[in-house]
């Protein structure tokens, strides 16, 4: 693998943003900034920011540790104190990190939480995770925001009101108490104004994959593109600047007819267009990506990039209705959609972005994503007559990434797509 890695300019901006955030976090105790631990799916960071507090996402720390090859030891340490092999590896990585002094992925200490904001959108492990954090940080208040699952295929006004009530009666009072500040709705509206701009830009960015060649990879590079909004910059001015810059860069690529940028440079020939379901593996992220770009496969849409918000169906936050918007945003996250909605969403992506195949990367230790994947795959296969593939790995447990097994399956999958092209071209 090449040691020289090509980076887009926006990636450098992002790197700067991340490093400043972790710096700010590491000095939070000295500067008196309050810290809120919460989760990515359905993250209501705008509300946290409205109280001038800083968000920390344990699963982001875990995935970053995975990418930096630190997760193996953390998981091992969590297992040593009794966490079973089957427990979500994000949880074990986070617990292991705390056991090792809570030193974050950038090498700086992550401050202890002042508030545990549990919004468990579509993932019930989140609840258990915070029960554990509560024991590790005794005395830290917990605010619970229950997001009703979209079992009935839609969000009803009752569901929104149910959530708004929780925000008003549970979440906001706890935030006021922890921050010592009064809830300022005008400030929240202003922050949500930025979110709205970012949401528009994100939709445009991920929609550029309709071009041939696609100017971006909506999975491997996509995880970088969703970075800022998922690691604490929702509603910030920095996020707006980043996404404007990113969109500008991508448009430039579209105008030049360029393919996506990979760690080894621009992809010269787009051979296969795929839609992927499931998170990527983080411990071998580069090797995993390389298996795709080496064979000219570009991902034109992925469910994972919608984990922090689904905007395909027109939803945007409305700054004039701040609490209703936060509620609807949470309920609209990918893992909170029912299986029928997920099939529809993926089906639209496959059609709209003219994918040649659909692939599932099933995660051994992630129930919220893996449940229903085989059914989703079957339904898409039947509905669209599209070739489908299935591989298995894990989020951050390096023991479950079998390079040769995955390579073997992917090779077969790509050859399947190739043969099909030969047949249809004749």
């Amino acid at each position: 693998m090449s040691t020289r890695v090509t980076k887009e300019k926006s990636m450098l901006i992002q790197k700067e943003m991340i490093s400043s955030l972790f710096k700010e976090l590491s000095t939070a105790k000295q500067t008196g900034k309050k810290v809120v631990y919460t989760f990515v799916p359905g993250n209501i960071s705008e509300l946290i920011r409205a109280f001038d507090m800083l968000p920390v996402y344990p699963e982001i720390n875990a995935l970053q540790s995975g990418m930096r090859k630190k997760s193996g030891k953390f998981i091992h340490d969590a297992e040593k104190i009794g966490y079973s092999e089957d427990v979500c590896t994000y949880v074990k990585c986070d617990v292991g990190m705390i056991l090792n002094g809570n030193i974050g992925p950038t090498g700086e200490k992550i401050p202890e939480p002042d508030l545990l904001l549990l919004s468990y959108t579509g993932c019930f492990t989140f609840m258990k995770w915070f029960e554990n954090l509560k024991r590790l940080y005794p005395g830290v208040p917990v605010a619970l925001l229950h997001t009703p699952y979209q079992e009935g295929h839609k969000i009803t006004p009752d569901m929104t009101q149910y959530m708004v009530k929780q925000l008003k009666e549970e979440v906001i009072p706890k935030m006021e108490q922890v921050s010592g500040k009064k809830y300022d709705e005008d400030k929240l509206k202003k922050i949500l104004g930025n979110t709205n701009k970012v949401e528009e830009l994100m939709v445009k960015i991920f929609d550029t994959t309709k071009n041939k060649p696609s100017p971006i990879d909506a999975y491997f590079a996509g995880v970088y593109y969703i970075g800022p909004i998922n690691i604490g910059f929702r509603g910030t001015g920095e996020a707006v600047v980043y996404y404007e810059k990113l969109y500008e860069e991508i448009l430039e690529r579209v105008n030049k007819g360029l393919g996506p940028i990979t760690p080894e440079g621009v992809m010269e020939e787009e051979k296969f267009r795929l839609v992927i379901e499931g998170p990527p593996n983080w411990t071998h992220f580069r090797e995993f990506w390389k298996l795709f770009y080496d064979l000219g496969a570009v991902i034109v849409a992925s469910s994972y990039t919608k984990v922090g918000g689904v905007y395909d169906n027109g939803f945007r936050v409305n700054p004039d209705k701040p609490l209703d918007s936060l509620a609807d945003y949470c309920m609209n996250c990918y893992t909170n959609l029912n299986l029928k909605q997920r099939v529809e969403l993926l089906s639209n992506c496959i059609t709209k972005y003219q994918a040649d195949g659909f692939l599932v990367n099933s995660i051994k230790s992630c129930n919220s994503f893996s449940a229903g994947q085989l059914m989703i795959m079957r339904q898409l296969e039947e509905k669209l007559d599209i070739p489908v593939g299935f591989i298995e790995s894990d989020l951050v447990d390096p023991r479950y990434f079998s390079y040769s097994n995955i390579k073997n399956r992917l090779e077969s999958f790509f050859q399947m797509l190739e043969q099909r092209k030969i047949i249809f071209n004749n």
């Binding site: 085989l374 795959m377 079957r378 296969e381 070739p387 489908v388 593939g389 299935f390 298995e392 079998s402 097994n405 073997n408 399956r409 090779e411 077969s412 050859q415 399947m416 043969q419 099909r420 030969i422 047949i423 004749n426």
Partner: protein, 467 residues
């Protein structure tokens, strides 16, 4: 010049080669056990396929004569049996030399002499036994490998001896077999054919006494009677054709490699294909209505869905664990101290199926010993094991989208009759009695066949559907 295409399927347990002609007809099959050396295995399989192709081409050339004179075919088959025996004998002679070297370097004094004598006696006993099995019972067509043929009989001879000889004799065998197995020999087809004919002529000349000795079946007797007193005439009519195919150039225009070890084949990248595609394509060629393929190989099981063109639409493979694959059966055979070929028939003798819970090969070993201790019968345990293997395959099929009509079962494990029994039973139980189950005599060759078919198409730049 006619063009031929080669497909090589380098599996974890066996390596297969198939040669096809311009019409996708199979004209040559070769198979060997893979063991440690992939490249040798590939070459052995290829040579075998070419030898076999010469006999097939001879029969194709003489199609009209064979139709009017059935004894011609019998004669050609007999020559092929003798040919296979000679190849075997060459290796057995080598093995005997190796045995002596091993004994020389492993033992001393009286013990050495003693072991030497025993081994000499064993070789002199099993040699003629195997010769008869080739010449009279068609051993060469039973897809058994040199190691299996020798070890089965060698072990039987050891069992007759004092147990104190067990360890030293096994040591001699284990230390000698691999180097002989991994030695690549390309035979001169023409010379070997002449020798084969001599052997056959000798066999026919002494037919009466041999038949009495071998207590052969009436049908066999009738077939052989066709040749008795007639063989010289047949030989004279076939001589020229035999010489022609012995020296003709079998021009391999293109080849494709597949299977577990495909990355190790010295083929260009475009000539390496995934075994998923090859198995499906091969199975679809033999059974054109195939929609679901189950392939149980040495270390993976594949459930493959194909469309009407033989094109794969999705597939599922076992991940992380190879329990339920061919290697599992090999391990179980070792646990029972029997050969792989004996597993299926023994399981079919069962009166009931003992429930085997283990989903892990190694744990299954412990479970078997426990079941034997509590008095369960070997055949009943084996029946349970075969059933549990098939249950795993059924679960994989379900994950891959189920079974659609028609269903084709391929891979080395498809030769095991007990596995077949449970596959049929469970497929019909789960997916209805209307599902047609295809199992061909060539089931183990499907991957190699698919490879050869891809080789022909890529050379001709043909789409898959073009004949």
């Amino acid at each position: 010049m006619k063009k031929y295409y080669l497909g090589i399927d380098l599996g974890s347990t066996t390596s297969k080669a198939i040669i096809i002609d311009e019409e996708d007809n199979i004209i040559g099959r070769g198979i060997t056990n893979t063991r440690a050396n992939y490249l040798v295995a590939t070459e052995v399989a290829r040579f075998e396929a070419i030898y076999n192709a010469r006999f097939s081409l001879l029969k194709m050339k003489l199609e009209d004569e064979i139709n009017s004179n059935p004894e011609y075919e019998k004669y050609i088959n007999d020559v092929e049996s003798a040919f296979q025996y000679l190849k075997f004998k060459y290796k057995l002679d080598k093995l005997y030399v190796k045995f002596k070297d091993t004994i020389e370097s492993s033992f001393s004094g009286d013990r050495k002499e003693n072991i030497l004598q025993i081994v000499e006696k064993i070789v002199k006993t099993i040699g003629p036994e195997i010769r008869d099995a080739y010449l009279f019972s068609n051993l060469g067509n039973k897809n058994q490998f040199f190691r299996d043929i020798v070890s089965e009989r060698y072990n039987n001879e050891i069992k007759k001896l004092d147990p104190e000889f067990f360890d030293p004799l096994m040591l001699v065998y284990d230390k000698s077999i691999i180097s002989v197995e991994n030695e690549l020999t390309e035979f001169n087809f023409k010379e070997l054919i002449s020798e084969s004919i001599e052997i056959m002529n000798e066999k026919y000349a002494k037919l009466d006494e041999t038949l009495a000795e071998n207590n052969s079946s009436p049908q066999f007797y009738a077939e052989i009677n066709l040749l008795k007193g007639n063989y010289k005439k047949i030989y004279n009519s076939l001589k020229e054709h035999l010489e022609f195919v012995a020296t003709m150039d079998i021009h391999i225009s293109n080849m494709v490699g597949t299977g577990y070890g495909r990355a190790l084949l010295p083929f260009p990248e475009k000539s390496i294909k995934s075994e998923i595609l090859c198995h499906a394509f091969g199975a679809h060629a033999i059974f054109p209505n195939t929609r679901t393929v189950l392939d149980i190989g040495g270390q993976d099981t594949k459930a493959i869905q194909v469309d009407k063109h033989g094109l794969v639409t999705s597939f599922h493979m076992n991940d992380r664990c190879a329990a339920g694959c061919g290697r599992y059966l090999g391990y179980i055979a070792d646990e029972f101290n029997i050969s792989l070929n004996e597993l299926g028939p023994l399981a079919l003798d069962a009166k009931k199926e003992v429930n085997i819970c283990s989903t892990c090969t190694v744990f299954a070993g412990a479970e078997i010993r426990e079941l034997l201790n509590v008095g369960q019968k070997r055949s009943d345990i084996l029946a349970g094991l075969h059933r549990s293997i098939v249950m795993r395959a059924i679960s994989l099929l379900a994950r891959s989208g189920g079974v659609r009509n028609e269903f084709s079962f391929t891979g080395g494990v498809a030769r095991n009759q007990a596995v077949l029994k449970y596959v049929s039973e469970l497929i019909h139980k789960n997916y209805g009695d209307d599902i047609k189950i295809n199992i061909g005599a060539d089931s183990i060759f499907m991957g190699a066949l698919g490879g050869a078919m891809f080789a022909r198409r890529s050379m001709k730049n043909l789409a898959l559907t073009d004949k």
